[in-house]
Symmetry: C2
Subunit: 303 residues, 2 copies
């Protein structure tokens, strides 16, 4: 399924569009992670094992759909989205390591360190992170847009963004965790990349600073709603549907939006954030339907 | 010590120049790895622990000195060299992990996972790798040069470069290792970044394709000589001088240039490569004295 075909589908058919973009992401990632190789072929295999064959592909979807809303070039948006997906996947591979979350299951299959070993998992993550920036360095966009994407992804994925959030998550004691702290934590850990996903679509399409600010506001609200739904699923979901271990946070006595706000309180907060996110899209009126539908999708998802 | 001061020193005083650039690298890295931070401060500390306070800084030295030889802007070359150094340091942090080489000592002090823990070491490595590309994305050079640097560093540090070499090193059985294999392995594992170091100086200075090709030829010969000297030091050095564990390769029965060529054979091969490297610099005549001196330094170093 190509992205061109996806662009012909109607925006009202959200599930079909999500599937179309996910299929295009899969095909593009397949191409981006395929290179001639010799004795080191196991690292290509492990990187492909981690990156291919599944996932909602929400981040590249946001990049592509934001670019589409703004009339930007979809093929380039797809590559940029795939760069971001490589970075997201590396973070999952490293987070799953025994010295971090020690997870055996990811997207319904054994994690990389279980399928290979810890050393290969560390290196496959490193390779995907490196490739992520390589894709942005090579993508067919003006050089000034490429350097903006590189610089901003490095911040979003770095010590003040995703990595910073992960560090807070594994180091801050439970007693110190209140709603403000876990909101900040999640804004870094998951929010920063969702923000980048949307802004990247804006950059690809040459968005103005005003547009980028509105897109960021949408992304921040939606990203937090996404994380609250994640916490809800950790309590209400089952491992088979979610595709990874559930109930871990509760077992660990970990402070989450559910433990702090209660299940109903968390649902209410997520819904509120979702409405707020949609309101951020007013400037684009009906062109923003897919990004609005994405909010509903995030809130209604069961995995 | 600033780089401006270094540029006033005479090229004949190689040790002073090496010290001057190392001091400038230290100061610049200090600035590049300093940001406002909150609960995640431990990750900044760990990244700084790994990156600051030591090392020959050979890679940034090569970038700066190549740019100097070609009349390029030194301040920008210094930042690019520091980006490369961050990537080099991340690779050391991850290579030292228990699931990889399991080293306790690096540059004469406890490795990051010994000083902190495995999770922080994984994340500090990730953070340095991410920051490396962030620095290149932000450096004050024309955007088209920045994207070239990003794209090329991703290849040099990726699955067909440094990571590929590390994978071959940890996965290929001893029986399969001959001189050709370990030459290829080292060309990827250490050679690719040394090549990048020199080429990056060329890019910063706007070098032509012909010049870049000569610089690469120099870097490849010198990089291999560097690795052979590393193997020699693993046999002849002592841990205190070398600053890390020695004799490990021999203890592990690992094939090295010394085990394959013998100690004298390895010394001869390194010397031969060194001469060849110097000959590559003919186009620059006396302007290349520092890069020639670097070859001698690499061959004569005791750590």
């Amino acid at each position: 399924m190509s992205l061109t075909a996806a662009s012909n589908s109607t925006t009202s058919d959200f599930p079909a569009r999500l599937r179309d973009v996910a299929a295009a992401v899969e095909t593009r990632l397949e191409a981006l992670l395929s290179q001639p190789h010799g004795h080191q072929s196991v690292i290509f295999e492990a990187a492909r094992y981690a990156a291919l064959g599944g996932g909602k592909r929400l981040r590249p979807f946001l990049t592509v759909e934001t670019a589409r809303m703004l009339g930007g070039p979809l093929d380039q948006a797809l590559s940029v989205g795939c760069a971001l997906e490589c970075l997201h996947v590396y973070s999952l591979v490293h987070d799953d390591l025994p010295c971090m979350d020690d997870d055996d299951l990811r997207r319904g299959k054994p994690t990389v360190h279980r399928a290979y070993d810890d050393a290969i998992a560390v290196l496959a993550g490193d390779a995907l992170l490196t490739r992520s920036f390589g894709i942005l360095g090579e993508v067919d966009l003006p050089a000034d847009i490429r350097v903006k994407l590189v610089a901003e992804l490095a911040v979003s994925g770095g010590m003040s963004g995703m990595i910073g959030g992960q560090v807070v998550d594994i180091t801050v004691a439970e007693g110190e965790r209140d709603e403000a702290l876990i909101t900040d934590l999640q804004a870094m850990k998951t929010g920063a990349l969702i923000d980048f996903a949307v802004r990247a679509g804006g950059y690809v399409a040459g968005a103005s600073e005003t547009e980028l600010a509105a897109l960021s506001a949408y992304a921040r609200d939606m990203g937090l709603a996404f994380q609250i739904q994640d916490d809800i699923l950790d309590v209400t979901g089952d491992a088979e549907t979610v595709g990874k271990a559930v109930g871990k946070d509760a077992d660990l006595g970990k402070a989450t939006f559910v433990s702090i706000l209660g299940l109903e309180g968390a649902r209410h907060r997520a819904k509120e954030l979702g409405e707020q996110a949609k309101n951020r899209l007013e400037p684009w009126n009906k062109d923003a339907q897919t990004l609005r539908d994405t909010v509903d999708f995030v809130l209604e998802r069961q995995h």
